[in-house]
């Protein structure tokens, strides 16, 4: 088979990193210390390569693997997210030195799997890519297993993951039985109403559970706050952001089947509504910053559903844009959390007290991230919500948008809580000083600029996202 390697450059560059990390992980004791030196710089390579490969298109491996604007858009996002999480994790205090290269190896494998997920257009390929990215994460969460919370989180993550995987596979068998194909291109041609194909619709419902699990959509979210809490801040930053991109890209590919009015579409809309409401209400009661962000991600999974159920290219573009914005906003918050928690402990809200005095740049970045998550202009979250609402209105799910509007109002309280603690309360004297180095400042500044830039000048990215949306028939 004669395959031109050029379209696969993002995956290949990531594989190169994996290979280097593998050598280091199995290499001598002395080699393992150096990982923090070269990896952050090397992690910029996939960004550059995925940006260069944006124009590529093609169908490979017997139609199972597709390179198109959708996949390239998400590969860029994954590469950026990977790089940020790598930079973020280099100063991880709770990670013992001998496990460092293994840790980064697993992160890279997971990102690699997600990149492949972005290009999969066949159910089994998707499944394999999804599992590749998941298994790496199962291992990472357990790396801190001496800590009871981390062990619990790892077990929860693996158990829930296994159950949802089993259900997804079971669903896959139904789809195969009902539709006699696993290629998305053929699947979207079929009628997906329950009357026409009860078996396949049931199967698709089960298959979607796997994606909903990754996305932490209600009621498959139970692992999410616990895992964030149990994992180290830096790991949580990865788990909370990149796998969501993978889930969204798959849902976008499948969205062509969700015509408004189909039972399966209505189910997704209802799950979306429940997810935002439940996530927001549960977050109101939290004191642990990572748990707040965990429940907030449950709510945000719900918002993304608006774009998916609208059944238009604009809707899918809005969902893509929102997924990107969500990753940027969340990474900003997690950057601050990781820098404030210099000793690696789990931050409580009170640990943020007086942050504006102790580290003004971090406090500002936190405010930008939190207000963006609320959806306050001129941050990215606002534009994302505007796109989602505009694309969804008058496509049969107006009630979902009204619920999303009301949910925005509910969510203000806990996001504002983050800012309130940072800006209006005085710190207790025994709090350890946050990281105020140039490194910490530069990351905070870059991420805030990204969030503000996506909000104020969204046109370019959105036009790209629109190309993404129109890929799906």
């Amino acid at each position: 088979m004669n395959v031109n390697p050029y379209p696969f450059m993002p995956e290949l560059s990531m594989f190169l990193i994996i290979a280097l990390l593998f050598v280091q992980a199995v290499g001598s004791e002395r080699m393992r210390h150096k990982v923090g030196v070269w990896l952050p710089i090397a992690s910029l390579l996939p960004i550059a390569v995925s940006l260069l490969s944006v124009g590529q298109e093609g169908l490979f491996f017997h139609g199972a693997y597709q390179i198109d604007p959708l996949s390239q858009f998400f590969k860029v996002a994954i590469a950026i997210g990977f790089s940020v999480t790598i930079f973020n994790a280099t100063r991880q205090p709770t990670l013992v030195t001998e496990k460092r290269s293994d840790y980064f190896l697993f992160l890279a494998i997971s990102a690699w799997g997600l990149m492949m997920l972005a290009s999969s257009v066949e159910l089994i390929t998707m499944y394999l890519a999804l599992e590749l990215s998941s298994y790496a994460l199962y291992a990472i969460i357990a790396l801190r297993a001496k800590d009871k919370g981390a062990a619990e989180a790892a077990i929860k993550y693996i158990m829930f993951g296994a159950v949802s995987t089993a259900l997804a596979l079971y669903g896959f068998s139904y789809i195969l039985a009902g539709m006699h194909t696993t290629y998305l291109a053929e699947l979207v041609q079929k009628t997906w109403s329950f009357e026409a194909a009860p078996m396949a619709v049931t199967g698709m419902g089960l298959f979607l559970l796997g994606m909903f699990y990754k996305l932490a959509l209600f009621p498959f979210h139970f692992w999410c706050p616990d895992v964030y809490e149990g994992a180290s801040n830096e790991t949580a930053a990865f788990v909370a952001t990149l796998p969501k991109l993978g889930a969204v890209v798959i849902l976008i590919r499948l969205a062509a089947m969700f015509k408004p009015g189909y039972d399966i579409t209505t189910v997704i809309a209802v799950l979306g509504a429940l997810s935002m409401t439940f996530g927001n209400l549960a977050a109101l009661a939290q004191k642990d910053v990572k748990r707040i962000l965990g429940y907030s991600s449950v709510a945000h999974a719900g918002y993304i559903m608006i774009g998916l159920v609208s059944g238009t290219a604009e809707g899918l573009a809005a969902a893509s844009f929102y997924a990107l914005a969500y990753v940027a906003m969340n990474l900003t918050c997690f950057w601050v959390v990781s820098r404030v928690s210099v000793d690696g402990r789990n931050l409580q809200l009170d640990d943020l007290n007086g942050l504006h005095k102790r580290a003004p740049a971090l406090a500002f970045a936190l405010a930008v991230g939190a207000f963006a998550l609320v959806g306050l202009p001129p941050m990215a979250g606002f534009m994302g919500k505007l796109f989602l609402f505009s694309s969804g209105w008058n496509h049969g799910y107006n009630w979902l948008i009204i619920i999303a509007g009301i949910n925005t109002a509910i969510s203000i309280y806990y996001y504002l809580g983050l800012v309130r603690h940072a800006y209006t309360k005085d710190a207790a004297e025994d709090l350890p000083l946050p990281d105020t180095s140039v490194f910490s400042f530069a990351g905070a500044a870059l991420l805030s600029l990204l969030v503000l830039g996506l909000g104020m000048m969204p046109a370019g990215v959105f036009d790209f996202a629109l190309k993404v949306g129109s890929v799906v028939p």
């Binding site: 959806g375 202009p377 919500k385 209105w393 009301i406 109002a409 203000i412 504002l416 046109a459």
Partner: protein, 511 residues
């Protein structure tokens, strides 16, 4: 389209923002204050082209700037001003130097951040009054929340956290549905541009829900009874400059929203809901007045009086006649000047006595005659004494109300009387009360004179010669009244059974 050499409105919005960034390179507390004062005076000077170029006889939007922002969704950077927003822009810009002056010795901590918030606030407020694109409007509308929140939460009184949180939650919760309404307008009307949406006649069933979504956001901001409970808390806890901006500018955004959006975009629904809006306006007038009568904290008196005064404004708006609209817009301006002045006076006395209790500030007349002169002037203006600015506005609303329905006019009378009662009560005690433990405080200094003379001059100028303001607003208001009445007629056929229709359309929305 106006012929101007440079984009005036954009400059007015972004000059304070850019200047605010400059703050962070300064050292020394007084340098920061002087810098901000200079910036605010330059901002005032930059508004000169508005005066020079504004065409009084035109009802169209002037100084229009229009650019693409997010092309794919038709979101534009679209600014302009007419007779309705013109006075509000000037008020916003004019209040800024006064705020800097009245915080000169009041604010002693985190001075840079404080002035940053003031400048940011001004930029966002000018943006709100000039935006002609729904999304742009929403951006400015929400952007102004953050600095106001910080003004109360960081530099406020002892209960600042509670007050600021309440302020933020109320206003943001109100505007959550505003965003949904904006999206609905885009889908129904095909554009976010307000002037183009005004030309369209939306179905009554659409107007019904759009009106409610818009009105909720604006009613909370005004604040109308019973959504007013955040206001006294915010006013009392805010620092002087915060109270002044809150009273002078922020509250006007709600009523401005009614004038700019509810009336022209949903005329039939506005007419349908008018009796209800009038009823809660009157309730607000009476409630605000009676509660103010029983307060012993001077700031609370003025805060509750605002609920009453803004009731006059909303009442005027929903009377749907020329007098009512003129009166409403006049009262928006007047309340900004008078109540702003009163809050600055309270700030001045608080710096001396460190108390806002009436009982701790008795008998000022003897040692602070200049102070009492200004207080008296603003107090007279506050309850609409003839010869002061508020008289003009209040009498117009009264005339409009009697024109519409004598009962509405009759119900307003007690409200006006209560206003006189509580203002006179406070003034009497301040001037001639017997001090319990008096100290001889110094009378007004030059700085205080400066920031009090400005509103005082406007109180008298507008009170005695209101003609110029009328000229500015009339063309736009006449057009507004005509549009609303015509718009209401066009779609009125559908209105025979509004509740039944509303329920059906709700089913449609929620289908």
């Amino acid at each position: 389209m106006q012929e101007v050499a440079y984009p005036v409105l954009t400059v007015l919005i972004f000059f304070p923002l850019l200047a605010a960034i400059g703050l962070f390179f300064l050292r020394g507390e007084n340098t920061v204050r002087i810098y901000t004062l200079v910036v605010s005076v330059i901002e005032l000077a930059l508004s000169y082209p508005l005066f020079a170029g504004f065409k009084l006889e035109s009802a169209a939007f002037q100084f229009v700037e229009r650019m693409d922002w997010v092309g794919q969704w038709g979101v534009e950077y679209y600014l302009g001003t007419d007779g309705i927003s013109f006075l509000m822009i000037i008020l916003t810009i004019a209040v800024l130097p006064l705020c800097v002056l009245c915080s000169w010795t009041y604010i002693t901590t985190r001075i840079k951040e404080f002035h940053f918030c003031l400048l940011f606030m001004t930029a966002a407020c000018v943006g709100v009054f000039t935006a002609l694109d729904l999304v742009l409007f929403y951006v400015f509308w929400e952007a102004m929340l953050v600095p106001m929140y910080l003004l109360i939460a960081v530099w406020g009184g002892p209960e600042k956290r509670y007050a600021s949180l309440k302020f933020f939650l109320y206003t943001l919760a109100g505007s959550a549905l505003l965003l949904v309404a904006i999206v609905a307008f885009r889908v129904a009307g095909g554009t976010f541009a307000i002037p183009e949406l005004m030309e369209q006649n939306f179905a009554f069933s659409f107007q019904f829900w759009a009106f409610l979504a818009l009105a909720l956001a604006f009613a909370i901001k005004v604040p109308m009874f019973p959504f007013h409970t955040w206001l006294p808390a915010a006013h009392v806890q805010a620092p002087t400059a915060g109270s002044v901006i809150l009273a002078s500018v922020l509250l006007k955004m709600g009523t401005y929203g009614f004038l700019r959006f509810n009336l022209p975009l949903t005329p039939a629904a506005s007419e349908y809901f008018a009796p209800f809006m009038i009823a809660i306006s009157i309730a607000g007038i009476l409630y605000g007045g009676i509660v103010a009568l029983g307060q012993n904290d001077i700031k609370k008196v003025i805060a509750y009086s605002s609920v009453g005064h803004m009731g006059f404004v909303t009442l005027g708006i929903f009377l749907f006649n020329q007098r009512g609209l003129e009166g409403a817009l006049f009262q928006m301006l007047n309340h900004g000047i008078t109540t702003g002045g009163l809050f600055m006076m309270i700030g001045a006395v608080y710096e001396r006595s460190h108390s806002r209790e009436l009982g701790d500030n008795l008998g000022l007349g003897k040692y602070m005659p200049a102070y009492m002169f200004f207080w008296g002037l603003f107090a007279l203006s506050s309850f609409g004494f003839p010869g002061t600015n508020s008289f003009v506005g209040e009498i117009l609303v009264f005339v409009g109300a009697f024109e519409q329905n004598p009962w509405i006019g009759a119900l307003m009378v007690p409200g006006a009387m209560v206003a006189a009662a509580y203002m006179l009560r406070v003034s009497l005690k301040l001037a001639w009360g017997r001090p319990t433990s008096w100290k001889q405080w110094p009378d007004l200094n030059l700085r205080e004179w400066t920031y009090l003379v400005v509103p005082a001059v406007f109180v008298l100028y507008i009170g005695l010669a209101p003609g110029l303001c009328f000229k500015v607003m009339d063309a736009s208001l006449i057009k507004l009244e005509k549009d609303v009445k015509e718009g209401a007629k066009v779609v009125s056929i559908e209105k025979e059974r509004p509740m039944e229709m509303a329920l059906n359309s709700l089913k449609g929305i929620l289908k």
